[in-house]
């Protein structure tokens, strides 16, 4: 399976290639944004609701008069950052716990799985609502909440994969050599769940981006004046009749990023022989 080069995996189908391209463009643009934006994010740079294509304001301005291009480009950064960090923590921490639960078994495994079941019974938005009511909205809180939200799902799937490895003989050999539990988990088991971990990370990240935008839209996520695509869609709805681009542009950007991620992940999962069509919630 891993004999295929990364390039061949990434270009295994036209959809996958498009996906990878979209993701790369988004990531690069988000990374390099501060270098090429014409204005500051909160800078009142022009008249309000200037149509796109005006000199000095390629994409016009918003209600207050801030340059839209600037806000759009920067708007992705926060969501991507929160989503990436959250998904990464969820998958790494959840993965380690999942593998340990698979290996150690017994009451430890049962307890972990009950906790997982408990969290999975609370739909994401509700859980975030609960936390926001309690802890308020801020980037750190949001990141932690996203991480906690996706940890149980990732844990369960990585644990399933680890469970296929635990009865195998090489694990028994490690035990017989007297390797410590930690050594078995990290040296023997973790390398064999890596493929699932990578696919899970990609899946969670695309869910996380959707979640962050939706939350910002609902007013539970990123708070103004920080630009965020979801927030910008919400703010733009009031002007839908006169300035539809205020809604359409950020909507387009969120969609293309997530579509790209999902196409790429689907291709990746197929190439690795895994099933990408699993729960995203």
């Amino acid at each position: 399976m891993s004999e295929k080069s990364i390039i061949s995996v990434l270009t295994s189908s036209p959809a996958t290639t498009i996906g990878v391209l979209l993701v790369t463009i988004h990531l690069l643009s988000a990374l390099l944004a501060p270098l090429y934006v014409p204005y500051g994010v909160t800078e009142l740079a022009g008249p309000s609701m200037l149509a796109p294509g005006s000199p000095g304001h390629l994409l016009g301005t918003d209600v207050i008069g801030r340059d839209y291009l600037t806000r759009l480009v920067i708007g992705g950064r926060t969501s991507i950052f929160v989503a990436m960090l959250g998904a990464l923590s969820a998958v790494v921490i959840g993965g380690l716990i999942g593998v340990s639960a698979a290996y150690i078994g017994g009451f430890y495994d049962d307890a972990i799985m009950r906790i997982v079941d408990t969290k999975l019974s609370i739909p994401g938005v509700l859980f975030v609502a609960l936390c926001v009511v309690g802890f308020g909205r801020s980037i750190p809180v949001l990141t932690i909440v996203i991480a906690i939200n996706y940890m149980p799902g990732a844990l369960r799937i990585i644990r399933s994969q680890a469970l296929t490895q635990v009865p195998l003989d090489y694990v028994k050999c490690a035990r017989l050599r007297g390797e410590s539990k930690l050594a078995v988990i990290i040296r023997e088991l973790c390398p064999n769940v890596m493929e699932v971990v990578v696919v899970e990370f990609a899946l969670r990240m695309s869910s996380a981006i959707l979640a962050v935008s939706a939350l910002s839209f609902l007013g539970l996520g990123i708070s103004p004046p920080t630009p965020d695509w979801g927030l910008m869609v919400y703010e733009g709805i009031r002007q839908i009749y006169i300035a539809p681009w205020l809604v359409l542009l950020p909507a387009f950007l969120i969609s293309t990023l997530v579509i790209g991620l999902n196409f790429a992940t689907d291709g990746l999962a197929n190439a690795l022989g895994l099933d990408a069509a699993r729960g995203l919630y």
Binding site: S121, V133, A277
Partner: protein, 321 residues
Amino acid sequence: MLTAVLRRIGLSLLILFFVSVLVFLATEVLPGDALDVFLTADDLLVMEPEQIEALRRDFGLDKPAIWRFIEWLSGAVTGDFGVTFIDKTPVSEVIWDPLLNSLLLGLVITIIAVPVALAIGSTTGYYRGRKPDAVVSSLAIIGYSIPDFVIGTLLIIFFAVWIPLFPALILVFADASVWELLKVSIMPAITVIIGHVAHLSRLLRAGFIEAMNCEFIERARLSGVPEKRIVFRHALPASVIPSLNSVALFIAGLLNGLIVIEKVFGYPGLGLQLIEAVDKREVHVVQAITLLGAVLVIGMNLLADLSIIILDPRVRSHKNE
């Protein structure tokens, strides 16, 4: 089989208990309590400490946590979730109508979505790898990648702004009649269906492919059984079991979608109620809605698992070997 069923129900009740603890604790971990959350900075400036303390006693917030938890939980079992801070209305009254409205919308969506997703999933699974499958699969991925609120907003732009077919905002009250609600639920339903059917059909497709790859399908083919019978009599029943879990997942995801979509369209459901409660920092309302959501998810998972226990002959007669 009876023991398996009882064990499964017991497990669900256990999880439900843990969830209630979690929901209750979420607001207990804070410095301060529900009242502190509710009061804004302005209120704190205006009110005297004695007034705040009096309010606290009024809402019973001065009692120890365990006591309040037991009261809350025992109340919750009978439908009493306490009262709102702002005007002491029982929370159950506040959420009753929205609850029914959301259930109605959810039901409409599920009734349409599940059969459609099953048809699409089975068909694309059967023609796996060929052109129609690739095209539909790509469309499906696009479908569930676009956020619900984007689809909703786009639908509003198309069908309310440019082609004035539907009202852009729903101005129906929470206690409207079923008929009125159905009329306004069309656009929200379509929005959720587009995204979530796409995802569910992918899950069902995977389940169907799994079933078609089974060895007994090969044996049936080699015995000359016609394709139609193979699909409907051999493969489809085999795909039901992985599908049930997918449907349970779908319903859980539906809750998330409903909250967002109710906000986009202003549909007077529980999701809208939730957002308002978070805005107004009505902790008890948020707790109640969260608990109800969890009950639904746990219930769906329980149903799915019980159906598997009852339907799968291998699990059913495990004890009889």
